[in-house]
């Protein structure tokens, strides 16, 4: 198998008394897409935030390209420049045009000159079906379009890995498809990804590996057809059964 891009070893994280991550081990290889599934509060989002150093972990270590990033001596800014994050609530910059949302990181964080950055941004926006919307403010766009801008913004600097945090959970059902197809597009290019998601069908289709998080532990991990169709652990079986029942109602 190819080189590991992200390695998570024995990571724990508490918020006050509440232990959200109870010793997570996970390896994400180059070009691999790992989907994290699990109930709300199981720790999916927290894990992604820990990888991007938006949260400080309590114990364990996280490595990016073989280099430890969770050591206190490591500058988080340099690490974040090598990762791309897409948030559930898009979190676009409302005061900036769509184009400037995408170029801000390219110019300020990566020192690319303005003209070149704009060229790159236009190209990537067009690719995600947003050509012609460059000069508009994000608030003029639909939720699906905003989330695609957010994906373009995160991907514009060609990060080593993309971290997608429930990118369709805030969307109206009819807008989910366009965002998923943008993620599919990233996958077809071989982008390394960690995807926290509630969309089981999507996880099955795009992910190479599915991990089931239950109360801060990664209780089951493997290829999607195994974890989603023949889960070994009772927690996973219960979770999938409940999802199935909910869909039938």
């Amino acid at each position: 198998m190819s080189e590991p891009v992200i390695e998570i070893k024995g990571v724990t994280k508490s918020f006050g008394e509440m232990e959200v991550l109870k010793g997570i081990d996970l390896t994400v290889h180059e070009h691999e897409a790992v989907a994290l599934i699990g109930a709300s509060g199981s720790g999916k989002s927290t894990l992604l935030r820990c990888i991007d150093l938006l949260e400080e972990i309590d114990d364990g270590d996280i490595f990016l390209d073989g280099e430890v990033i969770t050591d206190p001596s490591v500058d988080p800014v340099g690490v974040r420049r090598r990762l791309g994050v897409v948030f559930q609530a898009y979190n676009l910059f409302p005061h900036l045009r769509v184009l400037d949302n995408v170029t801000l990181g390219i110019t300020r964080a990566h020192g690319v000159d303005r003209a070149k950055a704009e060229g790159q941004a236009r190209e990537i926006l067009t690719r995600f079906g947003l050509g012609g919307r460059e000069d508009e403010k994000p608030s003029r766009l639909s939720g699906g379009q905003q989330q695609r801008v957010a994906i373009a913004r995160a991907f514009a600097t060609r990060p080593r890995a993309m971290l997608l945090d429930e990118v369709t959970s805030a969307l109206d059902p009819e807008l989910v498809g366009e965002v998923l197809s943008a993620v599919r597009d990233l996958k077809s290019e071989g982008v390394t990804m960690v995807i926290a998601t509630h969309e089981m069908g999507f996880a099955r289709e795009v992910a190479d590996t599915v991990g089931y998080l239950h109360e801060g532990r990664l209780v089951e991990i493997g290829p999607p057809e195994q974890v989603l169709e023949e889960p070994q652990r009772p927690e996973t079986q219960r979770f999938l059964r409940r999802l199935l029942e909910a869909r039938r109602v």
Binding site: V77, R80, R81, V85, F93, L104, G105, R108, A109
Partner: protein
């Protein structure tokens, strides 16, 4: 029988209602304003007031001097406002920072804000105008007064900025960090622009207050200031018309600012 045209009926009813609304507004306006004017004009002291406050000839005679003096007000306002905008921002950023090295500065900033927000502007101007010269420092009164105004308004404006910084959701800072900006860049390019936009109207409100408070410089003997000039005219001839002239000059600046504020607020709502 033809069915009644409901659409036409409704439109007619709406027209009748609109006409009634407009008529009521017009009548009540005439009654209230007319009543007030009548009250003033029929009051026993009106002839004297008209003579001492609304003397057209004296107005024409003194207005040019007062208008010239108002130029000083404008200059003081502009200089103080620029200083306040810069210092207030510095103060707000200091107070909202979390860096441990800045702790003593944060403490001082909090004390400063409490102090100058809690004392009347007129008192600070007075203390500056008479206290500093008493120390043996020889500075022009207009500069001392300007510093007094700056001290007070920096405290107000810093609080406005601080409210603005708080109004930007923390997810915005996080999103900025996530695209690879450092803390300073996130503040400069993402948080601050949104913060200032959110507090535009209250900032402009403080501009208007400051513009009026420049008149306080009169009490520490700043000559050539519009209110002081009008006061001198008024006290020499016991005719208060020049004060009316000064009032009009202040309004000429503050009313457009207030309208600008309305436009700004309306644009934000959109």
């Amino acid at each position: 029988m033809t069915p009644p045209d409901r659409r036409a009926e409704r439109a007619a009813a709406k027209r009748r209602k609109d006409r009634r609304t407009a008529a009521i507004a017009a009548v009540s306006t005439i009654l209230v304003l007319g009543g007030l004017v009548a009250l003033v004009l029929t009051s026993p002291g009106w002839p004297d007031v008209r003579e001492t406050f609304f003397d057209a000839d004296y107005f024409a005679e003194t207005f040019p001097d007062i208008a010239r003096a108002f130029w000083l007000d404008i200059r003081v306002f502009v200089v103080v406002e620029i200083a306040v905008l810069i210092l207030g921002l510095g103060l707000a950023l200091t107070r909202t920072s979390s860096s441990p090295g800045l702790f003593p500065l944060r403490l001082l900033a909090a004390v400063y804000t409490d102090l100058f927000r809690g004392v009347p502007v007129i008192l600070v101007v007075y203390l500056m105008g008479f206290g500093i010269p008493a120390l043996g420092v020889n500075v022009e009164a207009v500069i001392l007064g300007g510093i007094g105004l700056t001290l007070c308004y920096t405290a107000y404006v810093a609080e406005v900025y601080r409210a603005g910084l708080k109004s930007v959701r923390p997810t915005q800072r996080e999103a900025a960090l996530a695209v690879g900006l450092n803390e300073r860049q996130a503040m400069r390019h993402v948080v601050l622009p949104q913060a200032v936009r959110n507090v535009g109207p209250p900032l402009l409100n403080d501009f208007i207050s400051l513009q009026k408070d420049v008149a306080l410089l009169a009490i520490i003997g700043v000559t050539g200031e519009a209110f002081r000039e009008a006061q001198i005219f008024a006290s020499t001839d016991f005719d208060y018309t020049p004060l009316l002239g000064a009032a009009l000059l202040y309004l000429a600046v503050t009313v457009p600012m207030a309208r600008l504020l309305d436009v700004w607020e309306r644009r934000q709502d959109r």
